[in-house]
């Protein structure tokens, strides 16, 4: 954008949306700013929902991303509990529920993702998903009644819910389609360790199976059947089988919304329209491929770049992806791409001691670095992932 906009609208008022708003102000934008979010709460943080909030260690209010004073200073119109319902890029109008039409000069789309559901059964009492503060509240209230819990899906959310529920002393079954929890994210060897972590704590881990249907009894869930024909009895079921980008409202916009809002390397989807966070699929200039990340740090980093580019910076967005997950007393952190099929080399510590750093490499190039209970030791390897060198060299000299 060459001329400074007079009205910037941000759809989605969570990690990415709020960061975009703050960045615009920090970069000197002092025009009209509107933030639209369909949840009733002030922007809050999601990672604690499956951890401290579900465990009852934090009151939900601790998840607030900013203080009320910070929001006042931001000087934005915060439309909470309001939903963007349609977008007309050619006229630069965003439609909001109750028939309101808002004109914008520039728009940032940060509507995140929504949890995928099983084909049926979500209306039964005792069936949960976990994405929002309200979901967390409902789930925790139910877990306090000490139900037998089944968790469908062993990605980050499912695995964390299983760990937290196990910590609350519940009987937990974790149902995992792959060979081990997080197998698609971490590769088999490491995922196998995650599986062990769960079974060591007494979680019943069912691998290589999916859920076929939920079993009901008098309007409540009573269990579920699995693809191998077995039945898992449960009084509470958490469905954590992934998410889909929240782009329903963009269906008639003309934007490419195949798996998220498609953006170029500058987080731009169309003239005057940018996207950031879980909802954005952008062309990663170094990987030279479109990617979409559902990681907390990506939401902030991408929002910063999108906001700066909206104001004319023209910076390509080429982050080193980063995520962490906390399960039991274990912190797993990863920089870069840690996909299956990579060659995994332990460069620090020892998996048997439950503290190590492992490098992931493809064709001799280091693509990712993972730390298991080793935050400090992992940090220097971030550089290595950002500026890859042949892995032999990395193994020999990369140690801190």
């Amino acid at each position: 954008m060459t001329t400074t906009p007079r009205h910037v609208v941000i759809a989605g008022a969570s990690a990415a949306g709020l960061t975009a708003a703050e960045t615009l102000r920090r970069e000197g934008y002092n025009g009209h700013l509107t933030l639209i979010g369909d949840e009733p709460h002030l922007p809050y943080d999601r990672p604690p929902l499956s951890k401290q909030v579900l465990a009852g260690i934090w009151p939900p209010t601790r998840t607030a991303l900013r203080s009320p004073d910070d929001h006042t200073r931001l000087d934005a119109d915060l439309l909470l509990g309001r939903r963007a319902t349609a977008l007309h890029p050619s006229r630069r109008i965003i439609e909001v529920d109750y028939g309101e039409h808002i004109e914008y000069d520039a728009l940032i789309i940060a509507t995140g993702v929504t949890p995928r559901h099983l084909p049926q059964g979500h209306d039964l009492t005792g069936v949960h998903v976990l994405r929002t503060l309200d979901d967390a509240h409902r789930l925790r209230t139910h877990l306090l009644q000490r139900p037998r819990l089944a968790v469908v899906g062993a990605g980050f959310t499912g695995a964390e819910v299983a760990a937290t529920a196990c910590g609350l002393g519940l009987d937990v079954t974790l149902i995992c389609r792959g060979p081990a929890p997080l197998a698609e994210r971490l590769g088999g060897d490491i995922a196998h360790l995650v599986g062990q972590l769960h079974t060591d704590h007494g979680v019943r881990l069912r691998t290589g199976v999916g859920a076929t249907s939920l079993v009901a009894s008098h309007g409540r869930v009573a269990g579920l059947t699995l693809t191998d024909g077995t039945l898992v009895e449960a009084d509470a079921v958490v469905v954590a089988i992934g998410s889909t980008p929240a782009t329903d409202w963009l269906r008639t916009s003309g934007l490419d919304i195949t798996d998220g809002v498609a953006c170029d390397a500058y987080c731009q989807a169309a003239p005057g329209i940018y996207a950031a966070g879980d909802v954005a699929r952008w062309h990663h200039p170094q990987l030279d491929a479109p990617i979409r990340l559902e990681h907390r740090t990506n939401a902030t980093d991408q929002a910063i770049t999108a906001a700066r580019n909206l104001l004319g910076a023209h910076e390509p967005y080429a982050p080193v992806p980063y995520f962490w997950t906390d399960q039991y007393d274990t912190k797993i952190q990863a920089h870069g791409i840690c996909t299956p099929g990579a060659q995994i080399t332990v460069v620090h510590g020892d998996p048997a001691q439950r503290s190590f750093v492992a490098l992931y490499s493809h064709d001799g190039r280091v693509t990712g670095a993972l730390g298991w209970n080793s935050p400090r030791e992992l940090r220097p390897y971030r550089e290595l992932v950002a500026h890859p060198t042949p892995s032999e060299h990395a193994t020999a000299t990369g140690g801190p």
């Binding site: 990690a15 960061t19 703050e22 960045t23 920090r26 943080d45 990672p47 601790r62 607030a64 991303l65 900013r66 203080s67 907390r296 740090t297 902030t300 980093d301 910063i304 980063y322 962490w324 906390d326 912190k331 952190q333 935050p375 400090r376 940090r379 971030r382």
Partner: protein
């Protein structure tokens, strides 16, 4: 500028150390340590960046 750090919120990402290495460090558990609660003006930009990027909203800034 006055910086406060809520170590209880910190999730050990280390983003703050990358943004402002003179102001933040990490302990062995990865929990951030505030080296200087009143950093000099020339470090302010890095500290603001750290506060914005911190994925746990653990860093708060107050103008003096």
């Amino acid at each position: 500028m006055r910086v406060t750090l809520d170590q209880d919120k910190c999730c050990g990402a280390g983003t703050c150390v990358l943004s402002a290495p003179d102001v933040f460090d990490q302990d062995d558990d990865g929990i951030a340590i505030l080296l200087d609660p009143t950093p000099p003006a020339h470090l302010a930009a890095g500290v603001r960046d750290a506060a914005t990027r911190c994925p746990a909203a653990a860093i708060r800034l107050e103008a003096e």
